[in-house]
């Protein structure tokens, strides 16, 4: 811990590292010569927790009743209720209305044409984000139309809109409630933290049980996934309303309700919109996964293609999701920015709603007369699927030797030995090392917290799959950081590339996780190597971003001080930039790990043998308890990593000193 090394704390630090070293040696000795149950988990320590969870949830869904109504009836009724807006959205955006039945079915009312909807998106993009955003939107819309993805994209959009609306309303309500009561906030924060770390798959299983298979179940799972950022950002936004603004509201004599609705919420809107943007992105991320339990649209296309290993079709549908994601992301970001800084209408400029209304009328009129603007003719649809499939065959034919050599080497020389080492390491040794590390970083509380989470995994009997997950995460995160940070550092000193870099990183992060699997599978077929590569691809973006941000936010005065002292570039990096960037870098590693976890679980689809696979199996066989418990084990791992790195970041930013209690201000 070089950053903490100053003359004053040298003795203290030395004594504490001696203590740690002694503890580690004692631990290794104890676990290697101690009784057998210290190294392999004895049966009496493993409880049938999955069974208990499964039984109680099944009982809850099938037998339990609230006020005379069976829970399952209530949830199924709820599913029906959610189905209505989804159906309505699908009718308006994708399918239109049909009359007749059987083979005699005809479309009586068409949906809004691609010209109308695409135009609305482009006009809104122009109004909120200028011509650049309008151009981006135009490209994305054209892509969806030309590649024949429009209809399925609109089905997906319907699901997304309904999910986002529900998540936003629910998130706002929970956020406001948490803001007003510290007690409620503690409860929601705890639940949301766990919810954010439980892998997506784990949501699907109880959802299936309670809501059945279909679009409404998909929306429920998506809402559960997209809710935390909305709640979190709402609380944060309301808290960040300047004290003076609240005082102004109170001085003008606002009642509690007026204060909330007319002062606090509008002022917080910009930051709430950031939460909305994140919710939209989470929803899109969930699109493919949600299609496993009944959402149609582009997500289902990708899933179908992935199951058949039809790379070309998968890639195209995946790009369709990306196009949708880019448009929704950029427009919602622009709206968030606009909410932060209002802009007056130029004289003669129409209000947006009137412009959009007029456009819809005009475009619908055109569509009635000129059919291709209603539905793009099939003969003019472009497809690159064959090209991609040919490319994959070519790669398999021509590059097989090279790729296979690499794959075999990585697998046999690096990954397998590491995996086996983790699997045979005594569980007490692993937990012991974790506890000592946690104690050194953050004291007794952190040590107990981490040890308890790790021990919870032992009790469930998922220790070995958890170690498999750990090995994949460690390898991927290490590689992502080793590759990502240098790129970030390099970008930090080149400010003219940074805008472009940010745009690329934003786009990378809007891609749904499953899309990352495709190129990996294309090159290395299924297995751990592909999984690691996909995880690295996905998790590298935050490493690059935080590397860049951390290094470029060093105070200029400090750099000038280094320059005037005559530091070389390397010295400046080592002594000035790196210590200043360290807290940010640690947060970056934390983010990388969280991203890696969410990707890793998806990677189960291409044949890993870790907790993700356990969840996937549970999902396929409807094993409710197993799926949830394995999901919670992933959450335990993620929470441990999160706690350790946050403690490290705090330590790095306070330079090992404890924070002084803040004094009361004026």
């Amino acid at each position: 811990m070089g950053w903490a090394l100053t003359i004053d704390n040298l003795p203290r630090l030395a004594s504490s590292s001696v203590k740690c070293a002694v503890a580690v040696i004692a631990l290794v000795l104890a676990t290697s010569v101690g009784p057998g149950w210290l190294s392999t988990i004895p049966d009496w320590l493993v409880f049938p927790i999955s069974q208990w969870v499964g039984d109680s949830l099944t009982w809850f869904a099938r037998e339990a009743s609230i006020g005379g109504l069976a829970v399952q009836e209530i949830t199924r009724g709820f599913a029906e209720l959610i189905n209505k807006p989804i159906e309505a959205a699908v009718v308006i955006l994708a399918d239109g209305l049909f009359s007749g039945s059987g083979l005699d079915i005809t479309q009586s009312v068409p949906p809004f044409s691609w010209l109308a909807i695409g135009g609305v998106a482009i006009i809104a993009a122009y109004r909120f984000g200028g011509s650049a955003l309008a151009l981006t939107t135009c490209i994305c819309v054209s892509f969806l139309v030309l590649f024949g993805l429009w209809h399925n994209a609109m089905v997906t959009l319907s699901n997304v809109l309904v999910s986002v609306t529900i998540a936003t309303l629910l998130g706002l309500a929970l956020g406001i409630w948490s803001f007003r009561s510290a007690h409620v906030e503690n409860v929601t924060r705890g639940i949301m933290n766990v919810m954010q770390t439980v892998p997506i798959f784990a949501y699907l299983i109880p959802t299936l049980l309670l809501f059945g298979y279909g679009p409404s179940a998909a929306v429920v799972a998506t809402v559960a996934y997209a809710l935390p950022p909305m709640v979190h950002n709402t609380v944060l936004a309301l808290k960040s309303v300047p004290a003076e603004t609240v005082e102004c509201g109170r001085m003008t004599g606002c009642s509690r309700r007026q204060l909330l609705w007319q002062v606090q919420l509008p002022t917080a809107l910009a930051k709430i919109a950031v939460g909305l943007n994140q919710s939209v992105m989470m929803t899109l991320n969930m699109v493919i996964i949600a299609s496993m339990i009944g959402a149609g649209g582009l997500g289902f296309d990708v899933l179908k293609a992935l199951r058949k290993l039809d790379i070309g079709a998968g890639l195209e549908a995946g790009m369709g999701i990306v196009a949708l994601a880019i448009v929704l992301d950029r427009i919602s970001q622009a709206v968030a920015k606009r909410a932060a800084h209002g802009k007056h209408r130029e004289p003669g400029q129409w209000p947006l709603w009137r412009l959009l209304g007029l456009w819809i009328v005009v475009a619908t009129g055109i569509a009635l007369v000129f059919d291709p603007t209603q539905a793009w003719p099939k003969d003019y649809v472009i497809s690159t699927a064959t090209f991609w499939n040919d490319l994959v065959s070519w790669i398999n034919r021509e590059l097989y030797d090279v790729l296979d050599a690499f794959r075999t080497f990585a697998l046999l020389q690096v990954m397998r030995p590491f995996r086996d080492a983790l699997a045979v390491a005594p569980w007490t040794l692993m937990i012991g090392l974790l506890t000592i590390g946690a104690y050194a970083l953050g004291g007794a509380r952190l040590a107990i917290y981490c040890a308890a989470l790790a021990f919870a995994i032992v009790l469930t009997g998922y220790w070995i799959p958890a170690m498999n997950s750990l090995y994949l995460i460690l390898i991927s995160v290490t590689l992502a950081v080793i590759m990502g940070f240098p790129i970030g550092f390099w970008l930090a000193s080149r400010s003219r590339y940074q805008t472009a870099a940010n745009l690329v990183l934003d786009t990378l992060q809007t891609l749904p996780t499953l899309v990352y699997l495709l190129p990996a599978v294309m090159l290395f077929r299924i297995g751990d190597v592909s999984a690691v590569i996909a995880v690295i691809l996905y998790a590298m973006a935050p490493a690059i971003r935080y590397g860049m941000v951390g290094m470029s936010q060093v105070p200029v005065a400090r750099l000038e001080a280094a320059q005037i002292t005559g530091c070389t570039g390397w010295q400046t990096l080592r002594w000035i930039r790196f210590p200043a960037a360290l807290p940010t870098l640690l947060i970056g590693i934390n983010q990388t790990i969280m991203m890696a976890f969410s990707m890793l679980i998806i990677a189960a689809l291409i044949g890993t043998k870790d907790l993700g696979q356990e969840i996937l199996i549970a999902l396929n066989r409807s094993l409710v308890g197993e799926g949830i418990v394995a999901g919670l084990c992933v959450a335990c791992l993620a929470l441990i990593a999160d706690a350790l790195l946050k403690a490290g970041a705090v330590r790095a930013s306070t330079h090992g000193h404890k924070k002084k209690d803040q004094e009361h201000g004026e």
Binding site: E244, M251, G253, Q262, E666
Partner: protein, 351 residues
């Protein structure tokens, strides 16, 4: 509100705003504070309990139409005092009266009513609502009171033109400069025509030139509106420029209250003396301080000055003649003549 005041008393005799023995102790509540000794507690006793006294025993009256400035360095408790006067911060002990009514005893509903009808406030960082345009911001206090749209917008437009922002009605705060934003803040604080006007360091966040502009603007408005004003600042020059009376605060205590002249001529302690040391006296002290009294018959000569003139304004006349100079009051009655020795001593700083 006038009904609450005894009929026999002329309402002009009741100070618009008055406070007595205000304490704000962070960490303590009223009963704990009073049980532990209340206002008799020493610094050590407060510290021993982990309490911080932001305001200690503040008492003053603000007369109708007066500009009362509370001046102090940061951390002196001036912002807390002004918040206690409106109960944005609940005082730990003491009393606050608005037109003779006990503000601290007022119910929540009553407090809302008093704030809506009698108080307006301008904030250091403007505290504009970013989602509303200028018109919406200025009309906001009236909207809170459910005033009909056409009516509140009409009033808002009046206020906007009063502060010289016509044509910017539909601009958003983010599109305005700092000075313009504070003009909006001022217009908003006046929209409900409050009797009491609080300004909490309204010009501190602005550039010096803009600050001077807005100070002049404030004087112009006050000349027109005669609001009972409590103005918070850390800038002595600003205080002297706009104040009728100044209260100087140090470490939560008001150490002196007086007109700029009194502070300059008779500082209560070293702290105040150090503050006013560099104030150009000729710009503060009035002719009334250099009169040698005499009946009009004794004063000869054509040179006349007004008793309320500042010394800097009359210095050319005093220096440009060796004849006796008569001093007249506002009614034109001669009350004495200028004492040149006193004049010189005051300017030299030895009086």
């Amino acid at each position: 509100m006038a009904n609450d005041i005894p009929v026999s008393q002329d309402s002009n005799d009741v100070p618009m705003l008055s406070c007595r023995g205000i304490w704000k102790v962070f960490g303590a509540n009223k009963s704990k504070f009073e049980q532990s000794g209340g206002s008799d507690m020493t610094d050590e006793e407060l510290l021993a309990r982990g309490w911080t006294a932001a305001v200690r025993d503040a008492s003053f009256d603000v007369a109708r139409g007066e500009v009362f400035v509370i001046m102090g360095l940061s951390g002196s408790g001036k912002s807390t005092v002004v918040r206690c006067l409106s109960r944005l911060i609940e005082p730990t002990s003491g009393e606050v009266n608005v037109e003779g009514q006990d503000l601290l005893a007022a119910s929540e509903a009553k407090l809302l009513k008093i704030r809506r009808q009698k108080m307006g406030m301008v904030f250091q960082h403007f505290a504009l609502l970013p989602n509303r345009d200028v018109l919406g911001n200025v009309a906001f206090p009236l909207q809170v009171q459910d005033v009909a749209r056409s009516q509140r917008e009409e009033r808002a437009r009046e206020m906007i033109s009063l502060v010289g922002l016509e044509g910017r009605e539909n601009f958003f705060p983010g599109e305005l400069s700092g000075g313009q934003q504070q003009r909006v803040g001022i217009a908003r604080s006046l929209a409900s025509d409050p009797a009491i006007w609080f300004l909490d360091e309204p010009f501190s966040a602005l550039d010096p030139l803009i600050r001077a502009d807005l100070q002049d603007e404030l004087l112009r408005l006050q000349d027109q509106l005669h609001k009972t004003t409590v103005f918070i600042t850390h800038d002595l020059d600003e205080s002297i420029k706009i104040a009728d009376r100044i209260a100087i605060m140090d470490q939560g205590r008001i150490v002196q209250i007086g007109s700029p002249e009194e502070l300059v001529l008779n500082p209560a302690n070293d702290y105040v003396a150090r503050f006013v040391k560099n104030v150009p006296r000729s710009k503060v002290v009035r002719v009334s301080n250099i009169i040698r009294s005499a009946t009009s018959a004794d004063v000869v000569g054509d040179w006349v000055v007004n008793i309320n003139d500042r010394l800097a304004d009359v210095a050319p006349r005093i220096g440009g003649s060796t004849q006796p100079i008569a001093v007249q009051d506002d009614g034109g009655v001669t009350v004495g003549y200028v004492d040149r020795d006193k004049f010189v001593r005051i300017l030299a700083g030895s009086a």
